[in-house]
Symmetry: C2
């Protein structure tokens, strides 16, 4: 069985918005063994949308649609679907109450226009939207299923995972699929590939290994498709173990974890606290740490010291150190760690200082030069890194690499 | 005239890669008045590719193709195009020299396989690739033009800008398209819509208005298509002015700006500095401010104080204030602003304290309750907000709303 994804919105056609929804939908479908046959993006135009739906219907049993469900005039997906499925709009009282309730929760007056969002084609199965005012819709026609979801990612994603996927699994017989993700940090995609080449070459036909790189993190995803659940699971377990034995140094977790979560779990076990002292990342590392629910158990705070004065006054970096070695130096990040440990009274601290660019580079410290230090009151480890590309990318590399160093330090692993 | 974009690659269908090429291509086409009619993504599959090309040919005069030009087995775009245009592959000596030269420059041995990349369909116009080994191709058929480019963004982008666009401009007469984006903050999509309803209803047929919401920011995009550039521009300018006059309170900029950039520009003009004191956002506001190149001119630092102790010790929030009113209170955020102004020695400061959830809510301060304050040594303004949804979303709303308040404060605008 295959699916076709239809994303709707002029902003996609003029390139003002990058379509991240399609990738998310494709990943979720992949998890239940549904292959995406084609992706299409069309504008907020009735004829265009109808043509795309006809297309999609020819290509696949499953059609997933996002976008064009807003309350404003430019959004016409609902009206078009209503026409396409020869339906009429009727007010759905349950959805209406949800819309009213959402505005009450936000404690904002509700414009009339939003009530219309509770009007739905009479022959669709409504899909509740717990994160916005536009409900999803499910239509059945000639054995095909159509799902229409909002284009706003934070509304679409939970709807896809919690409502659409379960319906698909119920309505269609999908093969048995096991996904296992091994999270690694600090080793490039091709180096990992080199190290586990022999496993990969001997992978069974119904097994797949995917490399999902994200900055200095690479997720290895094993996918197994088959009929016998127990057999598949045993094989996946043994492959996971073999791969972990080979590259264990770089493995920080499995499946739904993240580096931030892993660090949080270790700190909770150790009953220890952490803080950060950030220059070039401007608080990104701290923000990643607090993105984990319950971070207040171990995260105390951060000193974002962008200027020389702030490093001196708020982190106690010595003027002499800054003058002699510069803000981007081993000496400075070591003193930044000490300053964070002292001022924020934590067991561990992470410090970064670098040149994110585009300006500020020098021959001996070009743009992308970053010093990272992690430590406690006994020991501080500092390393120099050279990252590349844009300001944004350099900051992200810095933050993730710093968290990787912190994870190794917390684990008492040798850093090299 | 319209264009259809066809992106080729299995990685696009399993959601492993987010397609950023299409957005770039669409933007470049938009600049020369070529509207994108549809975008399609297909796998590395001959039949799929041919179906998509037939499709695209029906839809548009111009077909832009990316991906599947690599030297490895899985890339089949060139062979498929060769077959589609009833051609035969012949070695192109000029391209061959470029490929050899590239490897010499990289000072790497050249695998035989790469030489085959210089073989091109005899009836295509080769497009040189100065950043990789896969040349682009241009085919003409029945008055339609097909351009095939590599999928690697840093190879595709210069090829698109330097080679493909000039050819399109030479071969086709294109209409004029003007896009104008009005950036607003603090007013929901539907509230904006109600305020400018009358304009929208009287929009000329060749004009379009789109709403692009992002948390508490809504971008209004006017798109105009026509023959007379001056006329269009005048009309767009007057529409921009009318809309701005109506909702000016919420307009922080136009076209390629952001709230962070706008704040940075104001601070540079005023020769003033800013800092943040953050609790629930954990440094997100600071990170947004430093995401702007040159932020070091006005951003000094941030105190991320997650714990009570940190708020007391590092921001000087009075123990009595925390005990009496709690960390999420007007009194606390006001003292946090004062602490940041004092400790980081800045002209302005932003402070936030809230309950991001999922835990920590109480009946009078449910999850999503956030206090935001902005101020200087003369004046501090504090407001309570109630946000909803997930931890991540509450943090993002908090950060963007705080920046919105800061922008208004810097502008000396009345906050209400």
């Amino acid at each position: 069985m295959t699916a076709t994804i239809v994303t709707i919105g002029d902003e996609l056609l003029i390139g003002q918005v990058i379509d991240t929804n399609s990738a998310f939908i494709a990943q979720e479908l992949g998890k239940i063994g549904v292959m995406v046959k084609r992706r299409m993006a069309v504008g907020d135009d009735k004829i265009e949308i109808i043509e795309a739906l006809d297309e999609a219907k020819k290509l696949s049993e499953l059609i997933l649609i996002t976008g064009g469900l807003g309350p404003t005039k430019d959004d016409i997906t609902k009206q078009t679907l209503c026409e396409y499925f020869k339906s009429t709009l009727v007010m759905n009282e349950e959805i209406k109450l949800m819309v009213i309730d959402l505005f009450r929760k936000l404690n904002r007056p509700m414009p009339e226009i939003n009530l219309k969002q509770a009007e739905l084609p009479h022959n669709c199965i409504p899909i509740k939207n717990f994160y916005g005012t536009a409900p999803g819709m499910c239509f059945k026609q000639e054995g095909k299923m159509f799902f229409s979801m909002p284009g706003v990612p934070f509304e679409m994603k939970p709807m896809m995972v919690d409502s659409v996927i379960p319906v698909i699994k119920k309505e269609f017989k999908t093969p048995f699929i096991i996904h296992r993700t091994i999270h690694t940090q600090g080793l490039g995609e091709s180096f990992l590939a080199e190290q586990i080449k022999d496993f990969e070459e001997n992978f069974p036909a119904n097994f797949k290994l995917a490399y999902l790189p994200h900055y200095s993190i690479v997720r290895l995803r094993i996918t197994a498709i088959g009929e016998n659940e127990i057999e598949l699971k045993e094989k996946v377990d043994s492959l996971e173990k073999q791969i972990t034995d080979r590259i264990g140094e770089n493995v920080f977790g499995y499946d739904d974890t993240t580096l931030e979560k892993t660090i949080g779990e270790i700190l909770k076990q150790q009953h220890k606290t952490i803080s950060t002292a950030e220059s070039c990342t401007g608080g990104l590392i701290a923000h990643k740490l607090v993105s984990v629910a319950g971070a207040s158990d171990y995260f105390i705070g951060s000193m974002v010291c962008y200027s020389y004065d702030a490093k001196e006054n708020n982190l106690g970096v010595k003027k002499n150190t800054l003058d002699t070695f510069g803000a981007v130096s081993e000496e400075t990040v070591r003193e930044m760690v000490q300053g964070a440990l002292r001022n924020l009274k934590t067991d561990y601290a992470i410090a970064v200082s670098g040149i994110a660019g585009p300006g500020g580079g020098t021959p001996d410290k070009p743009v992308g030069t970053v010093w990272i230090a992690v430590g406690n009151n006994e020991k501080i480890i500092a390393k120099r890194f050279q990252f590349a590309r844009t300001r944004e990318i350099i900051m992200e590399y810095t933050a993730i690499t710093a968290l990787g160093m912190a994870w190794r330090f917390l684990n008492g692993k040798v850093l090299n």
